[in-house]
Every structure is written in structure tokens, then in C-alpha cells.
């Protein structure tokens, strides 16, 4: 095999061989699924992104977001069991990847999430109350109770609205990037997706279009090792997901997704390249989904407790805590206070969200079109008549 024509990452430079084409850009420890050939690259190795990582004060803010995401996950899993929300998709284990990536973006960048991006939404600034409104599907929900929990979107934060089909946001992010390119807006778009999505039609199409047009976009794959029950090894024969970028003519990098600084640097670098007109980057953040795929999933059917325990040794929250302790910004007492504060914030937001009333039934007919068709107006009139006469009840 020859790789000599491939332009690889600005993060990782050097001659190519099939054994050396993807490397971890962090000093972090990685899980056992990781290929054996990864190399450590010193921070700041990139010319395009001199950024050496989040400064300590930012790191503390990032840590608090990670704690908030984790506390929300924990609470929502129990809310679902209690029947107070209908469904939930946890993201525990992926917080460093999500917060690190999002901290590297600018507010004017556009985010195209999948449905597991709670920590991304929180980092973009979406208020937790709005998210809980969406999980409940109440009258405060900006989406008007139309979508399952976790399928939210907030225009104000340039956070697109998620859907359930896998990978569809990838081509959309490329399209938005092309629109920004056409308008000469110095921004990037970023799509978030999982390892399973790399098998989807839209992953291929999006990567290909982005390569052809040098779209200012970042493909951020959170490889959490499992696509529901399918392990990463059965998703593709490729040694890494990142190396798929080579076939499309742009760099792909593997990053330890439990290392927030490594993720931040990788995304900063990709962003700098994109804004400079150098085109897209695929980033494979290797993480682990600690919980089930969703509340409808029982992971004991397909993976061992030992495997989960192994990955939890590398809990991204623990790793950031260690960094903060080393920097003298955190001790155990203060950490306990932060954890408690995050839980309390979730409790307050939930109490507020549960005060809101239900969605008004007639809104079911809104937003199908900008202006309702005569047919929709007729159906709405029939529906409201049924409601009035008690033929159907809320």
C-alpha cells in the first residue's frame, strides 16, 4: 500500500505508513481498544494552532459543565424510571470530548449535534431549564413537545435540532459550511456523531463533499465503542475511524477523548485550518459510553461489567479533577461542593420545569408549513371541535 500522496494532519506530521497513520495527540492513557501504534505528540506540535490548551480558569469552568452534564444524566435516568420523562439518552463518559470540543469553538460557529450531546448544549450556553422543558415536553419547550427527549435544538445558540436517523446531520453541516464559505463568513460548522454513524450514507457523502469543496467543517466522531450492541470492531475493518479521512483527501486524527486538553487542542487546530481555507478535518475522539444506549437498552446483553469498570478507571471527570488538583485549583472538599452544586442546580431546574403546564393541543398543527394549507386548517378545525365537544380529551 502507498500513502505517499496523502496530506495528513497538521497535528501529526511525517512519512506515512499503514502502521503510523493515526496517532493520539495527547499524553493521556487510552483504553484497551485503542490500536497499539499510537504515539504521543507534544502539545503545541501544530503550527496552525499554537494554543496549548484551556487555561486553568477555563478548565475549572469546563469541569463544572462536565459535572452538570453528569448530574443531569444521573437524575434523568431516574426520572425516566419514575415515569416523569418518557425516555433518555445518557452521555456519561463523553463529557471531556464534548466540553473540550465545544470550548474550542466560537459562538458564531454552527453545531450539528446527534442526540447524545447534552454537554455540548450546556457548553454552548443552553440553559438547563430549557433542556428539562424539552425532556418533559411541556409548554416551556421551544420545540413544542414535538420530539423525544434529547432531540433538541436552539437557534439562539447555533445548535441545530437533532433527529433520530443516524448521520443525517453530517451532510447538513457540510452544506452550512459551504454556505458560510460562499458568504465569506469566517466560521466553521461541526457535526457530532458516533462510531456507528461512520457506516452511514451521509458520513460518506458528507466527507466526500467536504473534501471536494474544501468545506470549513469539522467532523467530530465520538467513538464510544458501541453502536447500541455492535462493538466498534464490527462496525468497520479499519484500524481507526480517523484514517477514513485519508480516502477523502484531508486529515484525520485520533484523540483520547477522555483528555479534555487533547480534545481542545485537536478541535482548535481543526478550526484554525478550516477558517484558513485549508478544508475539513475528521477527529475521532475515543471515549466510552458508561451507560446504556438509551433507557430502552440493557447493555448487559452485549458487554461485561469488567469492560465498563476498566473504562471507568479513565473517567474524564476524574481526569479533569486531577488536572485541577495538580494546578492547585481544587481539593476534595471543594470538589464535593461543586458536585453538590451541580446536583442542586439540576434539582432547581427540574422543579421549575415541572411547574410548566402541558403543551396546548392545537399546536400540533403549527409549523408544518409557514402558512397552514387549507387541508391543515380544516383538520385543525375538526380537531378543535372534537376537543370542544369532548369527543377527544387531553
Amino acid at each position: 500500500m502507498r500513502w505517499t500522496h496523502v496530506q495528513y494532519s497538521s497535528v501529526v506530521r511525517g512519512p506515512f505508513s499503514p502502521e503510523h497513520h493515526s496517532r493520539v495527540i495527547s499524553g493521556g492513557r487510552v483504553g484497551r481498544r485503542m490500536p497499539a501504534t499510537q504515539e504521543k505528540v507534544a502539545p503545541g506540535a501544530s503550527a496552525a494552532a499554537p494554543d496549548s490548551g484551556l487555561p486553568p480558569a477555563e478548565l475549572l469552568a469546563a469541569y463544572r459543565l462536565m459535572l452538570l452534564a453528569r448530574a443531569t444524566d444521573d437524575r434523568c435516568l431516574s426520572l425516566q424510571r419514575q415515569g416523569r420523562i418518557g425516555f433518555y439518552v445518557p452521555g456519561s463518559g463523553q463529557e471531556a470530548a464534548q466540553v473540550g470540543a465545544t470550548r474550542a469553538l466560537h459562538p458564531e460557529d454552527w453545531v450539528f449535534p446527534a442526540y447524545r450531546e447534552l454537554a455540548v448544549a450546556l457548553t454552548r450556553g443552553v440553559p438547563l431549564e430549557r433542556l428539562l422543558d424539552q425532556f418533559i415536553g411541556n409548554s416551556g419547550d421551544l420545540l413544542k413537545g414535538r420530539q423525544m427527549p434529547n432531540h433538541y435544538g436552539y437557534r439562539e445558540f447555533r445548535f441545530m435540532v437533532a433527529s433520530s436517523p443516524i448521520g443525517t446531520q453530517i451532510t447538513q453541516a457540510v452544506g452550512a459550511a459551504l454556505a458560510a464559505q460562499r458568504r465569506k463568513d469566517p466560521i466553521v460548522t461541526i457535526s457530532f456523531f458516533g462510531d456507528g454513524a461512520t457506516s452511514s450514507n451521509d458520513f460518506h457523502a458528507g466527507m466526500n463533499f467536504a473534501g471536494v469543496y474544501r468545506a470549513p467543517t469539522i467532523f467530530f466522531c465520538e467513538n464510544n465503542q458501541w453502536a447500541i450492541s455492535l462493538p466498534r470492531e464490527k462496525q468497520t475493518r479499519s484500524a481507526t475511524l480517523a484514517e477514513k479521512a485519508e480516502a477523502y483527501g484531508f486529515p484525520g486524527v485520533v484523540v483520547d477523548g477522555t483528555d479534555i486538553q487533547a480534545v481542545y487542542r485537536a478541535v482548535s487546530d481543526a478550526r484554525a485550518r478550516a477558517v484558513a481555507g485549508e478544508g475539513p478535518t475528521l477527529i475521532e475522539a475515543q471515549v466510552y459510553r458508561f451507560g446504556p444506549h438509551s433507557t430502552s437498552d440493557d447493555p448487559h446483553r452485549y458487554r461485561s461489567d469488567a469492560e465498563v469498570a476498566h473504562w471507568k478507571e479513565n473517567d474524564p471527570i476524574k481526569r479533569v479533577k486531577d488536572l485541577l488538583v495538580q494546578a492547585g485549583l481544587l481539593d476534595d472538599a471543594r470538589d464535593s461542593a461543586l458536585v453538590e452544586a451541580a446536583r442542586a442546580q439540576v434539582g432547581r431546574a427540574l422543579a421549575a420545569a415541572e411547574q410548566a403546564g402541558p403543551v396546548a393541543p392545537g399546536t400540533m398543527f403549527d409549523d408544518v408549513f409557514a402558512t397552514p394549507t387549507p387541508r391543515l386548517a380544516e383538520e385543525r378545525a375538526e380537531f378543535e371541535n372534537f376537543m370542544r365537544e369532548g369527543v377527544i380529551k387531553p
Binding site: W110, F112, D141, L142, L143, K144, R146, Q147, H151, G153, Y154, R155, M160, V161, S163, S164, P165, T168, I170, T171, Q172, A173, V174, G175, A176, A177, L178, A179, A180, R182, R183, T189, N201, D202, H204, A205, G206, N208, F209, V212, Y213, D366, D367, V368, F369, A370, T371, T373, P374, R375
Partner: protein, 325 residues
């Protein structure tokens, strides 16, 4: 006014929209240098450049997915799918994404993309260059479905589509791309959605059709008039939104209805039309509603002339309907 073919009128519509609004752009397979396989985009690359006329890689989901992203960002993309038969790789993007963006975001993210696709039989295109699958799209909430049958409507409906706020499936009857010519208003000519076109006034029977069936139905009506049967013809123009008022008014007048489309009959759009008439015009009907359609087979290559509704089949159905009540 300029005398144009239907495909030329599509071209002029695109040109007009692109001249008037820098946010309008065209993307698709072979739409640039080649001007489209039917030449609908001819000359656009030269006039507007590569930034606004994008020759895309061969991927329908890529075309529609990127068009959606462009629209979310604020551009007005007009995507060409080379043949409607090839749209299925993009079906997920169209029905799961495009059609639902406004709704699923609670109105935060309107997503206005126009998808142009030549459709229908009669060009010896076989299974995969002939189908009329408009019903798939009309069945999906959130999509408008538009089918012109004249050059003036092709331009006028296309300009309305491009300046609409919702996703539009703009299906072009390729069989009559060049066989139909007509006067087309110059400039920003727009034809509103939801208004059927009265092609011919009549008193004995109402014929409902669209696209390439309009010339067939018109010829049948001419033939029948010599037999003393007065046919009214409505060109539906837009299946969504549908001009139910005009459809019902016509049947209330004539008391008889014949629905004509080249798509397969079972669950075809004619089924919806028939149901509307049965629900809302039952007491005006003097005879059972008749449907003249393609058969419930895949589209046959060598036998397409026998598969497609023709003048004789339409006339036969009308005579039977008029005789029966």
C-alpha cells in the same frame, strides 16, 4: 412574452431567480459544465459562476443534505435530482429531515429547499427513468408538491417555489419538456400555489390531471366533444397544497369525475382525489368516479405505450362514466 419549450421555461425561471437574488444557487449532478442532462441549467454556470452552480459528486443524499445545510444557513438552494427515479438515496434527507425541520424545531429552523426532478414516462426510459412517484412526497407532511404542465406554469410555479418559505418538490414532466411550447411572461412571473388551472370548461364530466397527462386529456376532450360530450379539465398544478375548492366546484357542476395520472393506481394520488370527492361531493355525483392510471406493475420498458394512459383509455373511461349516470 417569449415562446419557449417547457424545459426552456424552467431554465428562464432559474436564471430569473438567480439574477434577482444572490442567495439562490443551483446544485446537482452535471448541472454546471454540461448544463444538466436535459439542459435545464444550460448557461447558468457561465452567467453565475462555480460559486452558484455546483457540479456535485454523484450522491443524492449528499446533494440534498448539503442543500439543507445551505438553506439552514440562509441560502436558497435549488437542487436538481437527475431523474426522480434516482431520488431514493436522498429519501431519508427529504422525508426525515427537510420535511420536518420547521416542525421538529418548533418553528426555529425553517428549511426551504427546492428539489427539481424530471419525472414520468414516455421517453423510453424503462424502469428507472420513467416513474411517477409523486404520491410518496404528497403523503409526507411538510413538503409541497408542484407539477407544471405548460411553459408559463413551469416558470411561474418555479419562481413561486424558489421564493416560498417551505420545502418544495418541483416535479417536471420530462416527456413534454420539448413537445409543449407556449408563451411565457418575461421577468419575475409567478403563479400562486394551491390554484388549479381551468384548462377547458365543460358541463358533462370533470377531468382531473396534471403534468404530462394534460395534453392527453385535452386531446381526449377534443375527441369527445365531437361525440357530444362536454368535458371540463382541471390541471391541479400543485398536489400540496391542493385546490380542493376548485375540484369540488367542478364536480358539483358536472356530476361526474374522471381522474387521470400516469402513476400506478393503488395508493396513487387519484385515490386521494377520489376519496375527497366521495367524502365531500357524494351527493353531486351522478356516476361512480373513474380512474385512468398506470398499472400496478413496475414501469415496463418495451410496453410503456400500453402502460401509460392514452387518449383512447381516457375517452373510454369518460364515455363509460357519462353512460352510467
Amino acid at each position: 412574452m417569449t415562446e419557449l419549450t417547457l424545459v426552456q421555461a424552467v431554465n428562464r425561471g432559474l436564471q430569473q431567480a438567480m439574477r434577482d437574488d444572490p442567495d439562490v444557487l443551483v446544485l446537482g449532478e452535471d448541472v454546471g459544465v454540461n448544463g444538466g442532462v436535459f439542459r435545464a441549467t444550460e448557461g447558468l454556470l457561465k452567467e453565475f459562476g462555480e460559486g452558484r452552480v455546483l457540479d456535485t459528486p454523484l450522491s443524492e443524499t449528499g446533494i440534498i443534505g448539503t442543500a439543507i445545510g445551505m438553506a439552514l444557513y440562509g441560502l436558497k438552494p435549488v437542487a436538481e435530482i437527475q431523474f426522480l427515479d434516482f431520488i431514493y438515496p436522498a429519501f431519508d434527507q427529504i422525508v426525515s429531515e427537510l420535511a420536518k425541520f420547521r416542525y421538529r424545531s418548533g418553528g426555529q429552523y425553517p428549511c426551504h429547499v427546492v428539489i427539481r426532478a424530471p419525472y414520468g414516462g414516455g421517453i423510453k426510459g424503462g424502469l428507472y427513468h420513467s416513474q411517477s412517484t409523486e404520491a410518496y412526497f404528497a403523503h409526507t407532511a411538510g413538503l409541497k408538491v408542484v407539477i407544471p404542465s405548460t411553459p408559463a406554469d413551469a416558470k411561474g410555479l418555479l419562481l413561486t417555489a424558489i421564493h416560498d418559505e417551505d420545502p418544495v418538490m418541483f416535479l417536471e414532466p420530462k416527456r413534454i419538456y420539448r413537445s409543449v411550447t407556449g408563451e411565457v411572461p418575461d421577468g419575475d412571473h409567478r403563479v400562486p400555489f394551491g390554484q388549479a388551472r381551468l384548462v377547458r370548461e365543460g358541463t358533462d364530466v370533470s377531468l382531473f390531471a396534471y403534468g404530462a397527462m394534460i395534453p392527453i386529456v385535452s386531446e381526449a376532450a377534443e375527441l369527445l366533444s365531437k361525440e357530444g360530450i362536454s368535458s371540463e379539465i382541471l390541471d391541479l398544478r400543485t398536489l400540496v397544497p391542493l385546490d380542493e375548492a376548485a375540484i369540488l366546484a367542478s364536480v358539483e357542476k358536472t356530476g361526474r369525475a374522471v381522474v387521470v395520472h400516469e402513476a400506478a393506481r393503488f395508493c396513487g394520488f387519484g385515490g386521494e382525489l377520489s376519496a375527497i370527492l366521495a367524502e365531500k361531493a357524494f351527493y353531486s355525483l351522478k356516476a361512480p368516479i373513474a380512474r385512468v392510471t398506470g398499472y400496478d406493475t413496475p414501469f415496463p420498458y418495451a410496453l410503456e405505450n400500453l402502460y401509460l394512459p392514452n387518449v383512447e383509455r381516457v375517452a373510454h373511461a369518460v364515455r363509460a362514466t357519462v353512460r352510467s349516470g
